[in-house]
């Protein structure tokens, strides 16, 4: 319908419309906060302003999606397909939700530098680029834009040692991993002369030379880090733990979502012919991630750390979904990402509301009696945890079911069993949280008095919970949309000539 030629300047601009809008808007916000950066009011203002920008960008994405904008010929640099639109929508929703969840938190924790919101926007831009990129260079650029912003965000509470430490760890290991990714890009380019995924696929259709395989391996290492797959996951718990909670939520969802959609696009669009090479790697990483993430989470006493490990484990499930390399599997990635992100973000949002001012670690035992004091908050958290667990009737269950389906379809037995076993282990740490909240009496008379949801936060959490339940019961529309989006991911027409 609306075909764009991305090789023309106007085409490229339109193709990048959401990113460009957001970039422009973020600069405006940056400008605004340069003038208004005193106190909570200004911070909130910046927050709402950023939120408006996100909405604007979201409108652009939805418009493009609805208008079925697609590229003429192969997509250069940026994809114009439903997969991009779907993932961009998800990312923007996450960014918006994170923004709103931060409003009250920053005020409470006296993190009143309004640069926070532009940074979120920058990270979001990076994510959008990653989700859109059909070119390795663009993926790298998007990844770096995102990462640099997130490095700063994770250390945003710079007066706290743990936050600074988180930033340092994330930065050092992140940069280290980026160089692997970059080396991979270099080798692939060297082997094929291409950085566009479809063209790479065309080059490698008959088999990959060693250099390309090596490059693929290095790419996987880089992505492995970003999605926090075992054994590249060890930064994740520490960083998630140290970063301010809304940032953690954003990292655990947005960053992971962007990394996964980019990974899936790289694998399915660029290296589908090499599936026999990367499938064993992804498979082993998936099983290891599921097991390590879940088992280590069992030993956690801090809720945040537990959620961090749980998000590592969920990366494992997502890797399982990435394993088949089919439209079905990619659909599962999208769908599970949605399920996981909605749930995880809501969990971190609730956690952010529970956290004390000052000594911030929330132990699982601290939640005792939450239900009797804050029934809705506790119930929401319980629903989230059940969804993470994959309990029927929740979003997470449909997601897991979809993942298992997509893998079983390809004839793998081990991965579905690993997912099942992982879920089983995970009940060992999700359940005690619910137990603590509901079964145990509060420890002190004024326990949970400090729990504070902003109105926006409440709305976000409530919406997330409703989505969890709604898509747990009526997932049809979303399932279909995920599959349809994923279908657009197949390598585009095999082109042998470089245009």
């Amino acid at each position: 319908m609306n075909a764009l030629d991305t090789t023309t300047p106007i085409g490229a601009t339109l193709a990048l419309l959401p990113e460009l809008l957001l970039t422009g808007w973020s600069l405006v916000v940056l400008l605004v906060v340069a003038w208004r950066h005193e106190g909570e009011r200004d911070s909130r203002f910046a927050g709402w302003l950023s939120f408006a920008g996100i909405l604007l960008s979201l409108a652009a994405v939805l418009g493009m999606w609805h208008g079925d904008w697609h590229s003429e010929g192969i997509a250069h640099m940026v994809a114009l397909d439903s997969f991009r639109y779907a993932s961009a929508t998800l990312i923007l929703l996450l960014a918006g939700a994170s923004t709103l969840l931060s409003l009250r938190y920053l005020g409470r924790q006296r993190l009143l530098a309004p640069e926070y919101y532009p940074l979120i926007l920058f990270a979001t831009i990076g994510m959008l680029v990653m989700a859109a990129a059909t070119d390795l260079i663009l993926i790298f650029l998007g990844l770096e834009v995102m990462s640099v912003a997130v490095y700063v965000l994770s250390g945003f509470d710079r007066y706290r040692r743990s936050s600074a430490e988180a930033a340092l760890k994330y930065f050092l290991i992140g940069a280290f991993a980026s160089s692997f990714l970059l080396y991979g890009i270099a080798l692939i380019w060297g082997a094929t002369g291409q950085t566009n995924l479809s063209l790479i696929a065309a080059q490698l259709a008959g088999g990959a030379p060693t250099m390309a395989s090596l490059g693929l391996g290095l790419l996987l290492i880089g992505f492995g880090f970003k999605v926090s797959a075992v054994p590249f996951h060890m930064w994740a718990p520490d960083v998630y733990d140290g970063a301010p909670t809304p940032v953690t939520g954003f990292m655990a969802t947005g960053v992971k979502a962007a990394a996964f959609v980019a990974l899936v696009r790289v694998l399915d669009q660029g290296f589908i012919a090499q599936a026999h090479q990367w499938q064993p790697v992804i498979g082993v990483l998936a099983v290891a991630t599921i097991l390590v993430g879940n088992i280590t989470a069992l030993a956690q006493e801090s809720l945040k750390r537990m959620l961090a490990y749980s998000s590592v484990a969920h990366a494992g499930y997502l890797l399982v979904a990435a394993w088949p390399g089919t439209a079905f599997g990619s659909g599962a990635v999208l769908f599970y990402l949605a399920a996981y992100c909605v749930t995880t973000l809501a969990s971190f949002g609730i956690l952010a509301a529970i956290e004390h001012v000052g000594s911030r670690t929330v132990l699982i035992d601290d939640l005792e009696g939450l239900f009797s004091k804050r029934p809705w908050g506790a119930t929401s958290l319980a629903v989230c945890l059940l969804s993470l667990l994959g309990f029927p009737g929740t979003f997470g269950f449909v997601g897991k079911w979809y993942i298992i389906s997509s893998v079983l379809r390809e004839g793998s037995w081990i991965l579905p069993v690993a997912v099942a076993v992982g879920s089983l282990i995970s009940i060992g740490y999700y359940l005690p949280v619910i137990t603590a909240m509901t079964f145990k009496p509060e420890r002190t008379i004024d326990a949970h008095r400090q729990v504070a949801f902003s109105r926006a936060g409440k709305a976000i959490v409530a919406m997330a919970v409703l989505l969890i339940l709604l898509f747990g019961v009526w997932p049809t529309a979303l399932l279909n949309s995920a599959v349809r989006s994923a279908r657009t991911l197949a390598p585009q027409a095999v082109v042998t000539e470089v245009p």
């Binding site: 060693t210 054994p231 090479q277 064993p280 082993v284 282990i425």
Partner: protein, 657 residues
Amino acid sequence: MTAPIIGLVWVVVALPLLGAVLNGLIAVLRPQAKSAVSVIGPGVLVGAFIMAAAVVVGLAGLPPDAPQVVRIWPWLVAGRLDVDIAFLVDRLSAVMLLVVTGIGSLIHIFSIGYMRSDEGYARYFAYLNLFVVFMLVLVLGSNMPVVFIGWEGVGLASYLLIGFWFSDEQNAAAGKKAFLVNRIGDFGFLVAMFLVWNHVGALDFSTVLGAPWVPGGALVTAVTLFLFLGCAGKSAQIPLYVWLPDAMAGPTPVSALIHAATMVTAGVYLVARTGLLFAAAPLSSAVVAGIGALTALFAATIGLRQYDIKKVLAYSTVSQLGYMFVGVGAGAYAAGIFHLVTHAFFKALLFLGAGSVIHAMHHAYHATHSHDDAQDMRNMGGLRRYLPVTWVLMWIATLAIAGVPPFSGFFSKDEILGAAFARGAAGQPIYYVFYAMLVVAAFITAYYMARLMAMTFHGASRATAAEREQLHEAPWSMTGPLIVLGIGSAVAGVLNLPTLVGGHAWLEHWLEPVTGIATRLSGFRPVAGNHEAVLVGLAVLVGVAGLIAGFRATTARALVPAREAAPDTGLARLVYHKFYVDELYERFIVRPIVTFSRVFLWRIFDQGVVDGVAVNGSARLFRGIGWLGSRLQSGQVGLYIVVFVVGAIWILRTILG
């Protein structure tokens, strides 16, 4: 070919059931309404007796070989199984019907006086009526499952009545023990049913008995042996007899009705009912007779040294049941049933007489606030002066059980002895041994009965003067039934007067259509007349000798009340303690099972292995691994990098193949 009255046989069962329900309601709602209970309880029984008599008369008017099956309603209809609640009215069940309702009525009437002062009066009659219901179902059942209802139901009633005074731990335990030991037998009954079902595909008696069983085959032997296990439980035969002496913890009329006259004879009835099977399984029959003979002798021996008057009678019952089993084991089913009937009379009489004695003693002790044991014969003595009616009647029963002509026991016991001997003569010499055992048992029986009489009624009274003043005969409601039973004990022999003395063996002929075929099939041949005379003579001689010996031996010694008596020593002690069989069971069966269950199955296996190692262990294992993994997450960037690089190298190696 029906008599309409037979179709109403359900009324016989329904009446006591009505009584049980009404009395039960009274017990719950108005326990003090004793007069109503006194009317309802025995009333329904008398009504049932009249109805039963009418049914039997109706049956007598029919051709002899036409058993009447009265279907009440379909019960277990599933797949090929089609079991109705249905009653079989034939000549065998007719006899039992009369015995149960007849003796039952008398004992119910007796209970009015005996239990009147008890606070659980209504409850008592509810149970007693309930018992009769189940007993009637047992004898009337036209198929094995319906018999089984009665079979277990009487166990239930027995359980409730033995533990009637449940606040005493001993009574409660005795009730439980009775039910449990019975259940061992019921297990046999069940398995027998399964075997039958598997072979025949039906469970009603006419089909089962008419099925083609291979004579002497393993299957029919197994069926009958399992059945006999059931009978041994219900009828207190070795090795399952242990519950019956304990069952004396119940009220004495209960002992008379359930544990002497009716329930315990159910085993004998069942063997007679399934006589065709036993006849086809000579091995099982020999086992039945052998166990019977052994029990007869063994229990009689224990009876020699008991001091509790009811315990003596209990062992006597066990012993007499042994006689009956020898009879049915030998193929003389009619003889077994005959002894069942006469035994019902004289043993009920003995128990009720004992009840009368206990009632008197208890009353005396109660009035004088004494705490002595009202059932210990050592505390009695010389009671004939205070309880003359009871004394006379008890002697009649004693003579009957000792086999002194012309009292009823003489005829029935004699037939069994004759049957055993005849079997021996018919080429199964083992039966000679059984015969000899029975003869010895007969002597012992006479001996301990004489001892009982001597200790209770004769000699000097060992009660205190104050107590003696309170001793008196029971009211008419109690002595009346005693007298009726006394008459029965004396003359019930005419029911089956042997041809030897010019009788017509009426009962045998009456039962002929039911048991005759089985008797013939089992190869039973009565002994010739002249042999019989010798045997009879011997039996009488033994009985009389036992009586005299027992009486003289007892009166020869000076007896002291229980509290002053020295404990027994040596063999007497062993016998007094019933050869320590209960203790052996306790030590080698009960306690090992309990200990094994508690220590091994529960603590070690259930909690230790399954729960501890497998369930909590695996949870702890995962948690432990998690803890280790968590420790690995040391916070050191260096370590993270190392792990990262290791992973990177692995990926590169893998992807390069």
